[in-house]
Symmetry: D2
Subunit: 234 residues, 4 copies
C-alpha cells in the first residue's frame, strides 16, 4: 500500500534514476532506500515547490549529483493540504495555501523541469514527459471545496497551456484526473464506496498509467485522462 | 463606448445606488459623476481586491455611507493585468499577479459581499446576485496564456463552488464567459474579426445580460453563460 | 402553470404572431385560443418534427397563412418520450424514438426554419434566433439514461455546429440546458428538491430567458446557458 | 501503415482469439489472414452494425465458432461515412447515415457484447472492456460538421451512460477521443500538420493505448482519454 508518489517512483526507477522532492525528508526517505537497496538509483531532496528559490536549489543539486543524466519525466504530485469548510469560515491564508501547493508549486516545478525535458527531446527513447496529478476538484467546484478547486483548476489550466506550448517541441505534458480515494495508509480508515474491494484507487495502477503516458509515441499523446474505481459515482 | 464596469454600473444604477471599487480613482470617477449628475446615487472607493484589509476597509466605508441599503448585486470584473509570453520567460511574480487579480481578489470580494447578499435574501425584489466575469481563458489554457488561464480557471472554480453553497441559501452566483474583445477605448486600435461591425462585444450588451441574470427568479438561475460576437470563431 | 412551449408562445406573442407546431392539436389549441382571444395572433399546426415531409407541409402552410411575415425566432422544444430502464432492456425502437424527437426532429426543424431566419436578418429589430431546449442529459450520460442522452447530446452538437455556421450570417443559435424539473401540470405530483417552494423551474422564467436570448444584439450572443432551481444539486 | 481496426486486432490477437466485424469482407480479410498465418486465431464476419438483426446473426455465429471463449474486449470503431457540407445542403438521409454508423450501430454492438462481457467478469485476468472510438467531433460541433458531430456526441453519451451502469458490474467502458488524422493508406495524400514527421496518429499507438485501457485494474478505470499528434492544434 503505497502513495502515488512512491508507487510512481518505484515504477520509473525500473528504467531511470529517480529524484524525489518533498517538503519533508520522511516523505521520501523510505522510497529512496528501497530503490537504492534494490539496485536502482534514487535521490531525495527536501524542497518546497511553492518557493522558487527552494526549487532552484534542488535542481542545482540534481544537476551536480546526476551530471550526465537527461530528464526523462517529471511528475507533479503535490496534494495541497486543504480544509473543507463553509466558504465564510475560510481564511485567505487557507486559500493561499491551496494555490501555493496546487498551482504556484506546479508553476515553479514546470519552470525548473521544462528546460531539462527540452534538452532530452532529441535523444530519448520515449518523449520527455511532464505529468500533473489532478483530482475531481480539477473539473468541479463543489460546495465547500472552493479553495481546493481554485488551486486544482489552476493546475489543470497550466497543464493545458504547457501541453499546447511544449507538445510541438516534443515534450509530452499530461494531466490525470484522479477521481476517487487513493488506497494509501492515510486513507485506510475511510470506507470508500461502501468498503467494496478495489473501491479505492491503487497507487500502483496510477503509476502504471503514468508509465503508459510516458511511453506514448509523439504521434499519439494523451493530454488528459481520468482514473476512478469501477464503483465510483461520477 | 464604455468598459463593462462602467456600463454595468450605469445599468444597475437605474434601479439601485451603486458602489464602484477599483484600485485607482480614475477608473471610476467619471462613472460616479455621471450617475450622480443624472440623479442616481453612486459612490467610488479605491481598493485593492487582492488585499483583504483593503477590501474590508472599503466595505466598512460602504456600510457607513449607505447604512440602510441592502446589497442587491455584486459584480467582480477585475481584469488581471496579464503578459502573453513564452512560459519560460514568465516570472513567478507575473504568475502571482494573475492569481491575485483573477482569483485571490475574487475570494476577498466574495467574502466581503456574501454576508451582505445573504442579509438581503428575505426582502429583495430580485434574488441577491454575485456575478464574476470570465473570459476565454476561463475554460481554455492556450499556449502562452498559462498565467492568465491559471487565474481565470481558479475564478471559475470558486464561482461554481459558491453557486453550489449559496444558491440554496437564495443568493444567485453566476459566471459569464466573455469570449471576444470588448469594445472599449483601450481596444479601439484592435481590428477584431476583420474589423467587421459589431465584431467586438458591446459593454452595454454585457450589462444587459448581467441585469437579466440578476432578474432571474430563484426557480431558474443561470450559473454560466457565454457572450461572444456573432462573427467570433469558437 | 404552463409548459415551456406555452409560456414561450405567450411571451413571444407580445411582440410577434406565433406559430405552434406539435404532433397533437390538443398540445397547442388552448394556447392558440388564448393568444388570439387576447388580441394577439397565433396559429397551430399539427406536424411530426421527425418526418421531413410533415415539417415541409407545415411550413408551406405557414407561408400561405402569414405571407408577409418574417421569421423572428424558432424554438425547438420537443421532449423525446423517454424510458428510463436498464440498457439491456431497451429496444432499438426506443433508441430510435429518442433520436427522432431529440435530434432528427431538430435537424428537420432547423432545415425548415434557417432559410426563413436568414431572410429576416437584414431588417429585424432583434437578430433572428433559433433556440434548442436542452436538459441535464445534454451534457451527462447517466446510468439508465443512455437513449435520452444520445439524443440530447446529438441535439446539442447540432446546435453548436449551427451556431458556428449561421452566427456569422447573423442568425443567433442558442442552446439552453434546463437542469431540473419544470413546474407543469404533468410534474405536479413530483416532489422536487424536497418540495421546497420554487424547487421546480417556472416555465415563465424559461420564456423570459429565451426572450433575453432573442433580444441580445449580435455583438454579444450567448450560445449556451443553463437554468436550474436555486436548490437543485449539480 | 494500418488502420486502427487492424492495428487493434493485431495487438489483441497477441493475447486472445479475435473477431473482426465489418460491413465488407475486404475490410477484414487481410487482417484475419495475417493473424491466422502468424499462429494466432482470428475470425471475420460481415455485419452491419446499424441493423440489429445483422448484429445478432453475427454474434450467433461467434458463439458457434468460439463456444468456450469468453469475451475479453469489444471495440467499436466504425467511422461513419460523413459529408462535410453546408447544413442547408445536407439531406436527412445523410444525417441518418451519421447516426446509424456512429450511434445506432454502437447501441446494437453494445447490446450484443455487454451480456458476454458481463459473463466474463468473474474469471478474467483483465476486466472485460468495451471501448468506443471517438473523434474531435465527439466534443465539438464545428461548422459544417453537424451531422458527424450529432452522431459522435451521441456515441460519447452512450459510452458515458454505459460506463456508469456497467462499471460497477465490473465491465470497463471507455471512450477515446482521436483528435487528429490517423496515418492510414486512405490519408496518405493528406498533409497533416504541415507534413511534419509523426504529424498523423499511428494506428499502432491507438492500439497500444486501447490495450493499456484493457489492462487497467478495476480500482483505476479510465473512462475517457484523448490521443493527438504532438503538433496538433487543439
Amino acid at each position: 500500500m503505497h502513495n502515488p508518489g512512491r508507487a510512481t517512483a518505484l515504477r520509473f526507477a525500473k528504467a531511470y534514476p529517480v529524484v524525489l522532492l518533498a517538503r519533508k525528508t520522511e516523505s521520501f526517505q523510505d522510497t529512496v532506500s528501497e530503490i537504492n537497496d534494490a539496485g536502482g538509483k534514487a535521490l531525495g531532496i527536501a524542497a518546497d515547490a511553492a518557493d522558487p528559490q527552494s526549487v532552484r536549489a534542488a535542481f542545482d543539486k540534481i544537476k551536480a549529483e546526476l551530471p550526465d543524466h537527461k530528464l526523462a519525466a517529471a511528475i507533479y504530485n503535490v496534494a495541497a493540504g486543504f480544509v473543507r469548510k463553509p466558504f465564510l469560515e475560510l481564511s485567505v491564508e487557507e486559500f493561499d495555501a491551496s494555490i501555493d501547493g496546487s498551482a504556484r508549486g506546479f508553476f515553479n516545478f514546470a519552470q525548473a523541469t521544462l528546460p531539462l525535458l527540452l534538452d532530452a527531446v532529441s535523444n530519448s527513447e520515449h518523449a520527455p514527459t511532464l505529468i500533473a496529478t489532478g483530482a475531481t476538484a480539477s473539473v468541479r467546484g463543489s460546495a465547500s471545496f472552493g479553495s481546493l478547486a481554485s488551486g486544482m483548476f489552476a493546475r489543470r489550466a497550466l497543464s493545458q497551456s504547457l501541453a499546447r506550448e511544449f507538445g510541438p517541441q516534443g515534450v509530452h505534458v499530461a494531466h490525470a484526473i484522479i477521481d476517487g480515494i487513493i488506497d494509501i495508509p492515510r486513507t485506510s480508515a475511510f470506507s470508500a464506496n461502501g468498503g467494496v474491494e478495489d473501491g479505492k484507487i491503487s497507487a500502483h495502477a496510477i503509476a502504471d498509467s503514468y508509465w503508459h503516458l510516458h511511453s506514448q509515441p509523439r504521434s499519439a499523446f494523451t493530454q488528459e485522462l481520468d482514473l476512478r474505481p469501477f464503483v465510483e459515482k461520477f
